[in-house]
Symmetry: C2
Subunit: 374 residues, 2 copies
């Protein structure tokens, strides 16, 4: 009994290390998950590895390779944050590498949601490997919220970001929104952008704010794609957005737009995605498929009001980052963070869970996930 | 130098105790301030007192009385959270009691903002008492925010309370607001009500929510007055509000309302206050004077949308209690927490300071004071 408790504590300890390793590649493995693995023998870590990026070896293989003296692997335990794959993709299945290694026990944080690579644990068990699933599962799922959404919902992971007054206005009369939040919150937004494959705004926001929408952290980071929803391709070619990384700009327009108009936009270096549209609003489900096929797995939806309204109405929100400046002001004629029709019952509102709130300078950041999210 | 530091530390220590004593009477001394006093001799507290309620002795006198052996007072130090009064009101001036007691040093947290009772410290100093002002002044001002506002602004202290979705809606289409926040937040509202002389709502809120607006804490508390802004005296006599403590209801209507209508309302036990009004909105400045003359020193303004809008527009907000349920929903046709025209520039928004935020169950409570508040 007591030894069982210690074993469970040890399992968590080593899994925590595996999670730490997985985190090193956060945002770099798309469309693959982040995965970390640790190999333990006689209470000592003898091997470690993580999946660095798509096309590189899986964490399990990296960990096995890291053990110089292969004899040590005999009778060892592997801790891995995601169920080992069991199919031939770019790499041979990890289950095979494990079976060939001499590892006798495999502890897994979470099952692979991808049916393609499924049943890795069952296969190992059939071959006589002791297996355990579910150690630090919550943490592991958190780590791969993007991947899980991509697999389960077959669309990008969408996080809604809004900076608003304490009564929900993202802009006052005339559209002015500078500045609702302070320096610290705005810096945090740049950090957020670096964690997403793309940021997305509506054409009104481009014309109103005329911001670069880049990630301006001092530490060199990969720039996210910048997606503009622009059903009628109204974007002004003198918009500031074109002044940086034009090849990382995606302009989304309706299917009926003339080639001439498209040519002019393409000449800036930006790419055009044509989507179904209705009443001047892009069909977000059609867009979702197209983004995923471009390996855009995670998108920070930065507004404005109508864009947020559409994503909420279509059930396309997986996480929220809500920033509040210390301001209150009249709402009539201003722009609310969620620009769509109010429901007639609160039961139809989007309910969030796992709410966290904290101060960022004089501002407040509230994070949460829809109760329906994975 | 070092002994000076220790003396300052001791001063803060004893002042903290005086503040603790003052807090015992929080909400009970109206229209007077809360005040606590401590008398110290040779590093030992020999006397304590606080002002229990209007008409009762001041804290200084209570503290002096608490010292049985009056010889001990000779050469002692008094710590008092508010400058001793220097005028004959219901009581003789505290400065006189101090001068007669043998106390040789008086440490004061904050000056008395009331010009009537001013210059107490100067008077003591003239008579050879050593004085020091400003020890824990911030804390002392916080303690008496109501009193300070009453004196400086010649009106009640107004705290705005709103329960809203994360994007600022206090009700959805049709006015439904049950329930945006959870049990814990709603309980906290009842605690808040017990700390104010009155709660205030608009007639639409009475007809929409039909709530009692009482304080329903299990611990027996004084019920706040319930004020209803009802310019045209449209209130339905079957409203639930009349079913509890009718004598603690104040219905505020315009000056032109017929006597007959008034009579019916008065028959419930409620009181009517007639105020100037314009376009169906009560003149809040006229109301403020009338409330203060009724010894209503602090009011919790609970909405709805238009009422909050009016108080903000008129600059009548001294504190905010903003509750957020974990919900997002469309805003078009819903009711925002601040129902008045949005400004055209964010610089015209009401800016809050001393922002605090914390979780109450699944909800968030944000507190703050307008930068312009005392």
């Amino acid at each position: 009994m007591v030894s069982c408790i210690f074993k469970n504590m040890d399992d968590e300890k080593y899994m925590r290390r595996a999670i730490q390793l997985a985190k090193k590649a956060m945002g770099k493995t798309c469309p693959n998950p982040v995965v970390g693995a640790v190999i333990v023998k006689d209470g000592e870590i003898i091997g470690e590895g993580y999946h660095r990026r798509a096309g590189f070896p899986h964490a399990e293989v990296e960990a096995i390779r890291s053990v110089k003296d292969k004899r040590k692997l005999l009778g060892s335990t592997m801790y891995v944050t995601l169920e080992p794959c069991n199919h031939y993709g770019r790499m041979p299945p990890c289950t095979l590498a494990i079976l060939n290694s001499g590892i006798k026990r495999v502890v897994v944080a979470m099952e692979d949601p991808n049916p393609q690579s499924s049943h890795g644990t069952a296969t190992l068990r059939e071959k006589g490997i002791e297996t355990k699933i579910g150690v630090l599962e919550r943490e592991a799922r958190e780590l791969n919220e993007v991947f899980i959404t991509n697999i389960n919902k077959k669309r990008p992971f969408y996080a809604l970001k809004a900076a608003m007054t304490l009564n929900g206005l993202i802009a006052v009369r005339g559209g002015n929104s500078q500045w609702i939040t302070g320096e610290e919150a705005r810096l945090y937004v740049h950090f957020l952008r670096s964690n997403f494959n793309a940021v997305l705004v509506g054409i009104n926001t481009v014309h109103m704010d005329d911001s670069l929408l880049t990630c301006r952290l001092k530490k060199r980071v990969r720039q996210p794609f910048r997606i503009v929803l622009d059903a009628f391709l109204k974007i002004s070619l003198s918009s500031r957005i074109f002044s940086a990384y034009p090849r990382k700009i995606l302009i989304v327009c309706g299917e009926e737009i003339s080639d001439e108009k498209q040519k002019k936009v393409r000449a800036t270096g930006a790419r055009i995605i044509k989507c179904k549209s209705k009443n001047g609003r892009i069909d977000l489900h059609d867009l979702s498929q197209k983004l995923l096929s471009l390996n855009i797995c995670s998108v920070l939806v930065e507004g404005g009001s109508l864009v947020h309204g559409s994503f909420i109405k279509e059930g396309l929100v997986d996480k929220c980052f809500l920033f509040y400046g210390p301001l209150l002001c009249g709402s009539h004629g201003g722009f609310n963070a969620v620009g769509c029709d109010a429901p007639s019952s609160l039961s139809q509102a989007l309910r969030l869970r796992d709410i966290k709130c904290r101060m960022l300078g004089e501002d407040i950041l509230v994070e949460g996930k829809p109760c329906s999210a994975g």
